[in-house]
Amino acid sequence: MNPEELTKLKSLLGRDPNSTEIALMEQLWSEHCSYKSSRFYLKTFSWRNESIVMGVQEWGDAGAFKLDDGTIVVLKLESHNHPSALDPFNGAATGVGGVIRDVISVGARPVALLDMLRVGPITDRRSREILRGVVKGIGFYGNSIGVPVIGGELSFDSSYLNNPLVDVACVGVSTHGLKSKTLRAGQKLVIVGLTGLDGMGGASFASKPLDGQDQRGAIQIADPFSGKIVMDKTLQLMDLVDDIKDLGAGGIGVAILELVGELGAVIDLSRVPLRVKNMTPEQVLVSETQERMIYVIEPSKVEKFCGEFRKVDYACEEIGEVTAESKVTFIFEGKVIASIPNIAVKYRPISRWSVGERREPFVTEYRNSNLEESILSVLKHEDLVSKEWVYSQYDYEVLASTIIRPGWADASVIRLPNGKFLALKGDANPDLCQWDAFRCAKAIFAEAFRNLSTVGAKPRAAVDHLQFGSPASPGVYRDFIDSVYGLAEASKFFNVPIVGGKVSFYNEDSNGNPIKPTPLVVMAGITERRPPKFQVEAGDSLLLLGFTRGGLGGSLYQKLFGGKWEIPDPILVDDLRASELVSSWVNRGLVRYAKDVGKGGLVGALIPIIKESLGVTIEIDSIIADSTDPRVKLFSESGGRFLLVGDDSIISEAEENGIHCNKIGQITEKRTLRVGDLEIELQEVISSYHSLLEERMN
């Protein structure tokens, strides 16, 4: 706690705080829990449409939207970056446990997970080790608790060498409304699970750079079997409880302070069931041991509730009650060890940082390469190869509702209990965001929107995660603010509210170099019709929908070959109109292949065709673009474009809507890529697509 915050605490308490109170408030006022560097700007997301039942205003653990029949879909996104850097297996596994409990705590049943992973270069041994541990950890937890990981992202970049990004999103469904904070004096506070010594001070650990010191005490240990018991019993006993709070960052102390609102509470820490003997009350207060929850329950129902947990030998104990007094008191062996008045409970500090200027337009040295080398480098890039090595370690078919499985399309799809289909996609683009976070944030939101259209889904809501270096760096803080505004503008334009999110600062290496700015969006959409599995064959014509614009700034091409390029300025109306057309074509059965043009440009969009052991001929003159440069035509990542195979009628329909749609080539049996006079053998690309990750990781 800094000196100003300590002074503030003294004045709120009207006396000197004791050491326990300082430890408690340090957690509550940590960046992780209080959003002190970001809260002001995050209010930019504060709008909603009629279908949103839980938005950013609730400042809750998750966001939610409602379908016509009353079914509620809950979204939650969180990272476990610092823990995964130190202990990839447990760090990633507990991250999964955390998002799942957040979804349960609003009263929904978790039905799907996504994982978005960013690690150091694939050539780096330590980065591969981290990836191995992270994937194993996510699989361990997700598989054991029985929630399928249905999609995600994996990319490699030296920016994440010391600070991997491990983002996990969880989706939940409820057909009986959500739990909302309706506290009354006299309700009992009940904890389940044992409290131990792991995860001490995790919230403040996550709010500082990794300093290279031994911080393993801050890591929590994953126990998915216990997590499964907590999940199953909570879902079974939902009617007995009035409210639920996950014990996440900051432990019991922070959970109670965040829970009480206008009321108060008395908690007897000596009643908390412990895993180890002789824990100090302070340790009990801030421990972040996993697989614990706090429930708000009417006194008459506590016995029945705890009886169900004890039946499976799971600790369940009443530890206190809600009071009308406007303070939170923690007692240990009859003595008050901390007493925080409501005025201090409600107060959250704010950190004001200076905002740097926008970065200069960016130039990197151009490495000349011929077209063949450029095409092959993109086709074989490790970010674009098959991720089967990752997904096959996840039980993505559990619950028997997975429709579009990982790697099949631009978005994943599950069937909901009401018979509708839910599409999900996570998108980020740090290579672009490093040059212009505002344009980039708009671009990733637009990309997620396009991705959902390729399976015919109408986007309904999004959650975001804003991941940066230290806010004390004016350039980093500028990137953060630009990301917020970019996402907010796109969200409003597309009428897709951002219903929740997280912020993670202090992602940097031991020399203080920040990660590339990495805002990330997970978007959810609904479709009535079961999306088809795309099928292409030799002889099919390739159609390009949309207008190709120059500006390879932030593209994969620039990452590989450098050069001075403009940063593309997203034209959201292009994305919106093209996406709506594609979505309607998918739903009317007019397309047999629909791929968003994104990373790697048009060449990247060919990969799902080439991997089926097919060849492609591209007529470069047929690509409608604002440049004659073949590099622009082949590698531009400008938005609003889709590569399609389908009925001829879509060409005229596109043109009636004022959107370009041209035949730009054909799928061939011969496994080569022909562009003008150039003919590239694809056999090696095909085999590297399928085996690169498997070979590198084994």
């Binding site: 598989n143 998915p224 079997f225 039980d395 078919e397 559990v398």
Partner: protein
């Protein structure tokens, strides 16, 4: 009525019960501690991680009181199907012979596979001899192993190509003789690593699982 037994850590009970319904049968999810064998004609042990798979996969559930009751049911000729973790439990409990070892690649593996039915005198494969079925596997410990002349006779389904070729190329986990499912001698106790309940709904990638599950009906 078919009992779908839930242990702490079981993950597949809901879709297994729904798949039985899809197959025209009646399944009821029963907590292992409350299991009354007299109420049921047959039993399914669904997939998951019973008791967290601590010790060995299925080992703790195999020692539970409910398995004694299931053994009695099996001895009296009632049908018992173990799927994935349920198969592991049945081998641990000695209702089926052989063992399920960690996959050869040492990792958890989800994959859609083809299965060739090689034995049609069991509860779930009657009239399916020679058929090739399509459904997913998802496990870390599914490499079937056994020693002795009896092994060949127990095999009910083997991993194969789409056209029913059985060789090492189609073996996802290193199982002896591509074994995916086995049964006891009289065929009323069957264990299988693949998940029929995940290939049982109109929206599933395949509905081949129903052909197997339907066998649980009747005597």
């Amino acid at each position: 009525m078919i009992a779908v037994i839930k242990f702490p850590g079981t993950t597949c009970e809901l879709e297994t019960a729904m798949a039985l319904k899809e197959a025209g049968l009646r399944g009821e999810i029963v907590d292992h501690a409350d299991f009354d064998p007299d109420r049921f004609e047959s039993v399914v042990l669904p997939g998951g991680f019973s008791f967290g798979d601590y010790l060995r996969a299925g080992a703790i559930a195999a020692g539970s009181e409910s398995l004694k009751k299931i053994k009695e049911m099996a001895d009296s000729g009632k049908k018992v199907l173990g799927i994935c973790n349920g198969f592991q439990i049945l081998t641990e409990a000695g209702l089926l012979r052989g063992a399920l070892l960690p996959n050869l690649n040492g990792r958890f593996l989800t994959k859609w596979v083809y299965l060739k039915v090689v034995r049609d005198d069991t509860a779930i494969t009657r009239n399916l001899g020679g058929r090739v079925l399509f459904m997913p596997i998802a496990h870390a410990e599914g490499r079937y192993y056994g020693e002795g002349d009896w092994v060949q006779r127990t095999i009910v389904m083997t991993y194969s190509s789409a056209t029913g070729e059985v060789n090492e190329k189609w073996n996802p986990n290193g199982s002896l003789w591509n074994t995916a499912a086995v049964a006891n001698e009289s065929g009323n106790v069957v264990g299988m690593m693949p998940h029929p309940e995940r290939a049982s709904f109109p929206f599933s990638r395949s509905t081949d699982g129903l052909q197997l599950l339907r066998g649980l009906g009747g005597r």
